[in-house]
C-alpha cells in the first residue's frame, strides 16, 4: 500500500468510524427496528412486517402530529423568510453604517438555546406575563396563549420565527450586498420607483437565496422538538404534539421502539422529499 493511502486511512478512520456508527448504520437499523414490535428491553424481538406502518397510517395521533408540524413549519418559514428579507433590505438601505451592529443584535436569538427561549417566552405568554399585559394595556383581551388549542401553535410559531429571523436576515443581507449598485441606478434612470426596483431587480436576483432560505427553514423547522417540549409538552389537546415529540414519547415513555422507529422513517421520508424538491427547484432556477 502506498504511504499516501496509509496516511489517509489514519486521518479519516476516526471520522468514518463515528459517522458510520452513529449516522449511517442507524439508518438501516431504524428501518429494521420499524418492522419489529420491540420494547427496547425484552430479550425477544418479533418481526411484525409493515404492521407498524399500517398502524401509523390509521392513527389519528400520527396524522395530527404531521398536520401540526407542517403548520409550524410553514408558518415559521414564511414569516421568517419574508421578515428577514424585509429587514435585510432596510439594513442595506442605511448604506452599511451600523450593519454589523444590527447583524449582532438580530442574531442573538439565533444563538440562544431553544430551551432558554422556550422558558422565557412561556413566561411572556403566561396570563400574568408581559405580552398579555401589553395586549390588555391597548384594550385587547389576550388569549390564554399556551393553554388554548387554537393559540398554542401560533405562539410557538412566533417564537420559532423570532429565533430564525436573524439567520435569514444575515444571509439575505449578504445576498443583497452582492447585487451590483449599477443595476439599481440603471433602473432608476429608466424611471423605476423604489417599489418597482424591489420588484424587478431585487426579487429576481434574490430568488435563489430566497428559495434556499425557504427550504432550509422548512427542513429545520420540521424537526422542531425542544420548543414544544418546554413550552407546551405537546398540549393542549395535542395542538402542538409535533412529530418529534410523538416519536420521543413513543420511544422513551411507552417503550414502543419499533413503532417509534417507523415514525422516524416517516420523518426521514418527508425531509427527503423536501430536499429532493429543493434540488429540482434549484436546477430549474439555474436554467431560468
Amino acid at each position: 500500500m502506498k504511504d499516501e493511502t496509509k496516511a489517509a486511512i489514519i486521518c479519516i478512520a476516526p471520522a468514518i468510524a463515528i459517522i458510520g456508527t452513529f449516522t449511517l448504520f442507524p439508518i438501516f437499523y431504524s428501518f429494521g427496528l420499524s418492522t419489529t414490535d420491540w420494547d427496547g428491553l425484552s430479550p425477544t424481538i418479533n418481526f411484525v412486517g409493515l404492521s407498524n406502518y399500517s398502524k401509523l397510517i390509521s392513527s389519528g395521533a400520527f396524522w395530527n402530529s404531521i398536520k401540526v408540524t407542517l403548520y409550524y413549519t410553514v408558518g415559521v418559514s414564511i414569516i421568517s423568510v419574508i421578515a428577514g428579507l424585509a429587514l435585510a433590505s432596510l439594513i442595506n438601505r442605511t448604506g452599511g453604517r451600523l450593519a454589523s451592529f444590527y447583524r449582532v443584535i438580530y442574531f442573538i436569538p439565533v444563538v440562544t438555546s431553544f430551551v432558554a427561549a422556550g422558558v422565557v417566552w412561556k413566561s411572556l405568554f403566561s396570563p400574568a406575563g408581559f405580552l398579555s399585559d401589553t395586549f390588555r394595556s391597548i384594550g385587547l383581551s389576550p388569549p390564554n396563549w399556551l393553554a388554548d388549542p387554537i393559540w398554542a401553535m401560533p405562539a410557538l410559531i412566533i417564537v420559532g420565527a423570532w429565533m430564525r429571523l436573524g439567520f435569514n436576515t444575515v444571509i439575505s443581507l449578504a445576498g443583497l450586498q452582492s447585487i451590483p449598485r449599477g443595476y439599481y441606478e440603471k433602473a432608476k434612470i429608466d424611471g423605476a420607483g423604489a417599489l418597482n426596483r424591489f420588484r424587478f431587480v431585487t426579487i429576481p436576483l434574490m430568488k435563489p437565496i430566497i428559495l434556499l432560505l425557504l427550504i432550509m427553514s422548512l427542513v429545520d423547522a420540521f424537526l422542531i422538538f425542544d420548543l414544544a417540549f418546554v413550552m407546551t409538552g405537546g398540549g393542549p389537546l395535542g395542538a402542538t404534539n409535533v412529530a418529534g415529540l410523538l416519536l420521543y414519547k413513543n420511544a422513551f415513555h411507552y417503550y414502543k421502539m419499533g413503532f417509534a422507529s417507523a415514525i422516524g422513517v416517516m420523518i426521514f421520508a418527508i425531509v427527503l422529499i423536501i430536499t429532493l424538491v429543493q434540488m429540482r427547484l434549484f436546477k430549474f432556477g439555474r436554467r431560468a
Binding site: 493511502t5 431504524s30 442574531f107 444563538v111 438555546s113 432558554a116 413566561s123 425542544d226 422516524g264
Partner: protein, 289 residues
Amino acid sequence: MNERDISQATVRNLIKRIAGIVRRTWVHIFLLTLGFVVLMPFLWMITTSLKPLELMRVPPHLIPTHFYWQNYAIALESAPFGRYYLNTIIVTIGIVVGQLFLSSLAGYAFARLRFPGRNILFLVLLSTLMIPIYITLIPSYLIIRGFGLVNTYLGLILPFLVSAFGIFLFRQYYIGFPKDLEDKALMDGCSRLQIWRHIFLPLSKPAFATLGIFAFLFAWNSFLWPLIVTTDPDMWTIQIGLAMFSGRYGTQWTYLMAGTTISIIPAIAIFIILQKYYIKHLALSARLG
C-alpha cells in the same frame, strides 16, 4: 451662471442631502426600535430575574425598582446549576476539541491526499448532512446503551465527536493552500502526518475559530440527545436542568429567569467574541444545510 443660480443649486443640493439623512435616520430609528423589540425577551428575562417574587402578580414594570440579586442565590440553591454547568462544560469541551482535531485530520486527507474511493467517500459524508436526527436517534441510543455509556460523559460526547460539516469546512480551507507547501517537506523526508501536524495545523487558526464556535453553540444548546442518554440528575446538562427546573417551578418566574440567564450567558458571550468567524461562514453552513 450668476451667483443667484449657484446659491440656488447649493440650496437644492443641501435639501437633497438633508432629505437623504432624514430618510436614513428614520430607517435607523425603525431598525433600532425593532432591535429593541427583538431583544425584549432578554430584557424581560433579566429584569424578571431581579424582581421580588410576590410582585409578579400585579401589572409588571419592565424595569424593577429594587434589584433582588438573591434570586440568583435561591435559584442556585434550589437546583444544582453548578453541577449542570460543570457537566455542560465537560461535554462541550469534549465535543469542540474532538471536532476540531478529527475534522482537521479528515479534512486534510480529503483535500491533500490521493487515495482510492476518496470522492465517493466524501460524497457519502456530505449526504449525511441531510439526514434528520430522528432516524438515527433510537439506534444511536441503543448503541450507546449497548456500550454501557448511558449517564456518562462519553455517551454524551461520542456521537458528536466529528461532524461532516467540520470535515467539509477544513477540506475547503486546506484545498486552497499552495501545492509546493508540502513538496519541500516531502523531499526533506517528512511523513504526511508530520506535514499535517507541523505545517497545516499551525495555519488552521481561522478554521478552528469558525468550527469552534459552531461546535460550541451546538454542544452548549443541545437538548434531545442529553435528554435521552441521561437519567441521573447528576449527569444533566444545563439545558436539561433548565427544562426540568421549568417543569418543577412552573410559575416562579423570578427564579426561573435567574436560571435561564445563567444558562444563556456563555453562548451569547462566545458568539459576541467570535461573531466575525461565525457570520462569515454562515453562508457556507447555509449552502450545506
